[in-house]
């Protein structure tokens, strides 16, 4: 296990992050620093705030207190900053969220053409290259509805990569997949990790965490309860809540 890709440049900084849904305090004083090339796996029981936290990073969710800095850009009220951050941050969703009215290729070139103002030829060439990397170049002209879940998720990863992001956020990317399709998606993610992408993954794939993560973060009740490198995290969990959680998901 070589986790030496991380450089010293900070890609994501969360400082004293707090968020409320009305009265409900979802995120409580979250502090997290992610260096360039680092892979972070975030786990925890449902409702613990994992998804909400990574969705704050590209401002799909608004936070009420604290600071977020992504790739050196502070996330504040300035719409220019928010747009700049979104260009640097790719996101993969649990339910893929491909655009069903566009072909796979159109899904991939849409944002480069309309947001980055890239020539179509160039965008298509790049999209085909990335579709090849996720091993589905032959599906480029099909519609998302014609693909299996695993294929759709790989397209979604390619679509995000087409914007050439510095950071990738994965929000339970394999939770909606049939067991036999989980591997093909994880393989793509592992390959991405070995190429040095900065990644924050909310996932319960503990095998994936052991293989690629530099750090595993355990969240409960809106707080980061425990944070450690994978070996220590799985073999020697410090916190009682973590031990309980691990005993429950590693039983089978």
């Amino acid at each position: 296990m070589s986790h030496s890709q991380a450089s010293d440049k900070l890609m994501v900084e969360l400082r004293d992050l707090n968020k409320w849904y009305g009265e409900f305090h979802v995120l409580k004083n979250i502090n997290l620093e992610v260096k360039q090339g680092e892979k972070i796996v975030i786990c925890g029981p449902s409702g613990s705030g994992k998804s909400t936290m990574i969705r704050c990073i590209n401002h799909l969710e608004e936070h009420q207190k604290g600071d977020i800095v992504v790739s050196g850009i502070p996330l504040n009220e300035d719409i220019k900053n928010i747009e700049a951050i979104r260009k640097e941050v790719g996101m993969v969703f649990q339910h893929f969220n491909l655009f069903p009215h566009l072909t796979v290729l159109e899904n991939c070139v849409l944002a480069p053409i309309w947001v980055k103002k890239m020539p179509r030829k160039e965008a298509e060439a790049q999209a085909m290259e990335l579709l090849e990397r996720v091993k589905i170049p032959d599906q480029a002209l099909k519609y998302p509805g014609q693909l299996s879940g695993g294929q759709q998720q790989r397209v979604a990863i390619a679509r995000s990569l087409c914007m050439n992001p510095d950071v990738m956020l994965f929000d339970e990317p394999t939770s909606a997949l049939d067991p036999e399709m989980i591997k093909e998606v994880l393989d793509v993610m592992i390959e991405l990790a070995t190429e040095g992408m900065t990644m924050l993954c909310v996932t319960h794939e503990m095998g994936f965490a052991k293989t690629v993560a530099d750090r595993v973060i355990f969240m409960d009740g809106g707080q980061i309860v425990e944070e450690n490198e994978p070996h220590e995290f799985f073999n020697n969990p410090q916190h009682e809540r973590t031990q309980l959680f691990l005993s429950q998901i590693l039983q089978h």
């Binding site: 590209n58 799909l60 747009e83 979104r86 260009k87 941050v89 790719g90 996101m91 969703f93 339910h95 969220n97 491909l98 655009f99 069903p100 009215h101 849409l110 944002a111 053409i113 309309w114 947001v115 980055k116 103002k117 890239m118 020539p119 179509r120 030829k121 160039e122 965008a123 519609y143 509805g145 014609q146 979604a156 679509r159 995000s160 914007m163």
Partner: protein
């Protein structure tokens, strides 16, 4: 059953006196599903046939007794009454056939005007109701809930009697830039083309072709270089600008027939009758409220994940709406939108309540009264609405099939 019971006393075995028919026997023909359904169809058909026969027989006998001749000969007879508004030349000396054409054209006119305005207004209101802006969304909600829940006839009366009929008399007309508004309608100067106006018309069409070329060029350039070009504004500039420049250069070859107050009314110009305005306002505003709800439902039917994915890719709200949400919403919106278009067209027959000369008012009203040819007139009128409706839904179904999603 009773015989079985009385028999059982004499039957020491207690079993049935006679063995029942074995189950593999054919079922009774009324228990065979195929024959049974055939039987019911034959019964229904003969019942319908009888009803129609008696209606037709009854009608023919009655017509004969009253001495009314049937047939469409009346269409060539002179009508002898005037019509307040006509898109083609029509005088009292024209035939009843012409009253049909005039009424039909007026109906089509109000339907097209209504569909055009209601669609634009409806889409804007539907999007507005979902706006993040509190004021815009509440204003749209109030609009929709108000106009959707007041009877259309009442709204037509409101615009006609409460708004347009209370305007001043022609002598006290409100004047804006050479146009006049009074209780006889909205009177605007009529344009009269003079020598050289053809150049301006030519310029207009040249500009249309020019903007088509620009949109092609810009699409191509975007594909090659990624540069985006403000096609809409450039085309608008061309289409307005070129004819305007040519118009100035050729010495403004357009005369205006200004309306003038002569006696109690205006002479010259074009008069848009208040009945048309009232009906147009009422139909558009009423139907727009329904279209807005349809559009809102369509947008809400697009899952929030789509917007999130587009947002996460860095797309702006406007581009997300245009490229992701609206194309997907349309496939949900089109079928109910078609119903709204059909409703609007059919509702336009309420024109008769304020005297707008549509098909129902002119043909199924005055012409019917004068000729007494009730069956022919009503049949023709019904056929018109049926045809218009079927044409509209055929077109909309064709459009809908073009934008459907490919599922597998």
């Amino acid at each position: 059953m009773s015989s079985d019971i009385s028999n059982s006393g004499h039957n020491p075995e207690g079993g049935p006196a006679k063995p029942k028919a074995p189950p593999q026997n054919k079922p009774k023909f009324w228990n065979d599903p195929k024959k049974r359904s055939l039987l019911f169809q034959v019964l229904l058909l003969s019942a319908l046939g009888f009803v129609f026969y008696s209606i037709i027989d009854n009608t023919l006998t009655n017509l004969e007794q009253r001495g009314i001749t049937t047939g469409f000969d009346f269409l060539t007879e002179e009508a002898g009454f005037g019509i307040a508004m006509s898109l083609i030349d029509y005088t009292e000396a024209s035939s009843y056939g012409m009253t049909f054409i005039v009424g039909l054209m007026n109906t089509i006119l109000i339907a097209l005007m209504g569909i055009f305005a209601a669609t634009i207004l409806g889409f804007l209101l539907g999007v507005a109701r979902l706006s993040d802006n509190w004021l815009i969304s509440k204003a749209s909600t109030i609009y929709i809930e108000t106009f959707r829940n007041i009877p259309l006839l009442l709204q037509i009366f409101f615009w006609y009697y409460a708004v347009l009929r209370t305007l001043p008399h022609p002598r006290q007309s409100m004047e804006f830039f050479g146009t006049f508004l009074n209780n006889r309608g909205f009177i605007v100067p009529a344009p009269v083309a003079e020598d050289g106006f053809g150049v301006v018309v030519f310029g207009f069409f040249a500009a249309l072709i020019g903007s088509w070329l620009i949109s092609r060029w810009s699409k191509k350039r975007q594909e090659l270089t990624g540069q985006q070009f403000p096609v809409f504004w450039a085309s608008l500039g061309l289409i307005v600008g070129i004819p305007l420049v040519l118009f100035m250069l050729s010495g403004m070859p357009l005369g205006l027939d200004h309306p003038e107050l002569k006696g109690f009314n205006f002479k010259g110009g074009i008069t848009v009758i208040p009945e048309l305005i009232a009906l147009w306002f009422a139909l558009s505003i009423y139907t727009a409220a329904f279209i807005a709800e349809t559009v809102r439902a369509g947008i809400l039917a697009v899952s929030h994940g789509q917007t999130e994915a587009a947002t996460a890719l860095g797309m702006s709200k406007a581009k997300t709406l245009r490229l992701i949400v609206i194309p997907q919403a349309l496939r949900v919106v089109i079928p109910p939108l078609t119903s709204q278009y059909l409703n609007l067209t059919k509702n336009s027959s309420l024109a008769t309540a304020i005297g707008y000369p549509d098909l129902v008012n002119v043909f199924a009203g005055t012409t019917l009264n004068q000729t007494g040819q009730a069956i022919e007139v009503i049949a023709m009128t019904m056929a018109v609405y049926l045809t218009l409706s079927l044409l509209t839904s055929t077109f909309m179904n064709w459009y809908n099939s073009r934008i459907q999603l490919t599922e597998r």
